[in-house]
């Protein structure tokens, strides 16, 4: 009997030269991606995991068994109810943004499993598709059992089917990054930038915080998913190396575009969780420190290693690292009824911690919380709309997120007029991405343009109920009803 090492490559790299049709017909450029290169240029493609299907199934079975055991022992409604209120919001935010994005990644992986240019790439992408299907099912299953006791968790499945502003932004990203990308862009954008560059932040950093909080279910779920990500993310680097050899500018463009777009998503999802929704005693590092360790250092090293430069907008990224998620969180807090999870005001101790971890930027942000705290002190507990915005919010025409980039002193929003249309962007990188692929993005309407076109209501409550699909039971409130120990109210 042949040993594994003797047959593995025959099974993984079963490529041949087609004779009835050309390579270009089997792998048309529209489906396989550009640059279109002869097979020989891809023939050396390899990745370090070199898994077989039998090994894949055995490993996944073991992981499912172990996950199920934790679900049975720590995933019941009474376990979830015991978690700190703000942490439950971190779970709801993560759980809603993750599973259907993962489902879109099934499509991206399956496209690579058909149109990737070597058999080994296609095999690994097929495992990737199976992984992503698993990552769709796990949070849907785990949260489904909890919906009866907490209706906000229904948004685990509902978010991407709604016109909620977070869903519009998330779909704008996910449709392009995961569902629509050709295998080359998918490998660079999803496997290299998004997964190798960023997902450690969520799956390693947030896992550590879940452990600190005592949320065994989320810790296990994230850990189980992370080990899959680490494997299929390996598709990215060998594709990128080939791309760099043949079209360095395009490789640099894809990395820069997707680093910025991924950053904005993670700043919201993970930034909120790490710096605001994790109770203070459980925090180990700030979001910025996690990003510096898990993203910046590693990503820049990887870029250099494949022969690319750091993104041209690095100074803007460094400003954003100190400000962006704080500005989005403060904005979201004052429009919390527009999301499906509750938010908290950072109290004096939290603000001291934030000042310590963001010495260069917190002084500009603190007055906003001073103002919000003072407003709560004059407002009855539970009267959320007494401490809430009502004006229509501005959204970026590229990322579809709130115009929160730059600093409170100088917002970096920038406008553009083109072909009789006006556009606004939260930042120069978003504007730059839009300009590179204008035909792709120009027709997409942000919420403001939908309101002006009469497609969405301008009234806040009508917007929340009829357009975002929220109700009083599900829309976000202050997690403590504004009833904080530090909020002394004058009778």
């Amino acid at each position: 009997m042949l040993k594994r090492a003797q047959w593995l490559d025959l099974a993984r790299k079963l490529d041949w030269k087609p004779t009835y049709v050309s390579d270009a017909e089997v792998f048309p450029i529209a489906a396989a991606g550009r640059p279109w290169l002869p097979y020989e240029e891809w023939a050396g493609w390899d990745e370090p995991f070199r898994t077989t299907y039998a090994e894949y199934v055995a490993t996944q079975h073991e992981k499912e068994t172990s996950l199920w055991a934790v679900k049975e022992s720590a995933g019941r409604p009474e376990d979830f109810a015991k978690l700190p209120r703000e942490w439950k919001s971190a779970v709801k935010l993560h759980a809603a943004t993750l599973p259907l994005a993962e489902f879109a990644a099934v499509i991206g992986n399956l496209r690579a499993a058909r149109f990737g240019r070597t058999s080994a790439w296609r095999t690994t992408a097929l495992f990737g598709a199976l992984d992503e299907f698993r990552h769709t099912q796990i949070p849907l299953l785990l949260m489904n059992d909890l919906v009866a006791s907490d209706p906000q968790l229904d948004w685990t499945h509902r978010l991407y089917h709604s016109n909620n502003w977070v869903a519009i932004a998330a779909r704008h990203l996910v449709d392009e990054l995961l569902a629509g990308a050709n295998p080359i862009e998918f490998a660079v954008a999803a496997n290299f930038v998004f997964e190798t560059g960023f997902t450690n932040l969520q799956f390693v950093g947030l896992t550590a915080l879940a452990r600190q909080v005592g949320d065994r279910m989320l810790e296990k779920m994230l850990g189980s998913i992370q080990s899959d990500e680490a494997r299929h993310a390996q598709i990215g680097e060998p594709v990128l190396r080939t791309l760099v050899r043949h079209d360095r500018d395009y490789a640099q463009y894809l990395c820069d575009k997707w680093f910025w777009r991924s950053w904005l998503l993670f700043a919201v999802v993970t930034g909120f969780a790490m710096d605001y929704l994790t109770p203070l005693p459980a925090r180990t590092s700030s979001f910025k420190e996690f990003v510096q360790e898990w993203v910046v250092d590693q990503y820049l090293r990887m870029l250099e290693d494949v022969g690319l430069s750091r993104p041209w907008y690095w100074p803007a990224f460094e400003v954003a690292l100190n400000h962006y998620h704080h500005m989005v969180y403060a904005s979201a807090y004052t429009y919390r009824a527009s999301v499906w999870f509750d938010l908290v005001v950072p109290g004096p101790d939290e603000r001291r911690w934030l000042r310590q971890h963001y010495p260069g930027s917190w002084d500009e942000l603190d007055p906003i919380w001073e103002r919000i705290s003072a407003r709560w002190q004059k407002t009855d507990p539970g009267n959320d709309f007494g401490v809430h915005g009502t004006a229509i919010i501005g959204f970026c025409n590229l990322c579809q997120l709130v115009l929160c980039n730059g600093t409170p002193t100088k917002n970096s929003a920038t406008t553009m007029q083109k072909d009789g249309q006006k556009y606004i962007f939260c930042s120069e990188p978003c504007r730059w991405i839009f300009e590179q692929e204008q035909t792709r993005y120009a027709e997409h309407k942000d919420i403001v343009k939908r309101v002006l076109a009469g497609e969405a209501p301008a009234n806040l409550v009508a917007m929340l109920r009829n357009y975002f699909g929220l109700s009083f039971e599900t829309w976000g409130k202050d997690a403590y009803g504004g009833n904080y120990p530090w909020a002394t109210r004058t009778p």
Binding site: A330, T334, I372, V387, K410, A413
Partner: protein, 78 residues
């Protein structure tokens, strides 16, 4: 009404402000400050900037050349 993007110094976000053509820029600044009041304390002496130019608060929205979906900024001292 003319929808304009307003950015108030000290705020975390940009807001859409509905202006009238004959609103003065002083009134426009008031509308933005009122919309952002939950997050930002009012300015003592607001200044309005359009396309990098500091404009007279008595000037109207129309005279300032502001049309739908243009951007203005309000700064000053607190």
């Amino acid at each position: 009404m003319i929808p304009l993007y307003g950015f108030l110094q000290g705020d975390s976000m940009g807001l859409l402000i509905m202006a009238r053509e004959d609103d003065t820029l002083g009134r426009l600044a008031e509308k933005l400050q009122s919309a952002a009041d939950v997050r930002v304390a009012p300015l003592k002496r607001p200044r309005v900037m359009v396309a990098g130019r500091l404009l007279d608060l008595e000037m109207t929205v129309a005279a300032a050349g502001l049309t739908a979906l243009d951007k203005f900024e309000v700064g000053g001292t607190r």
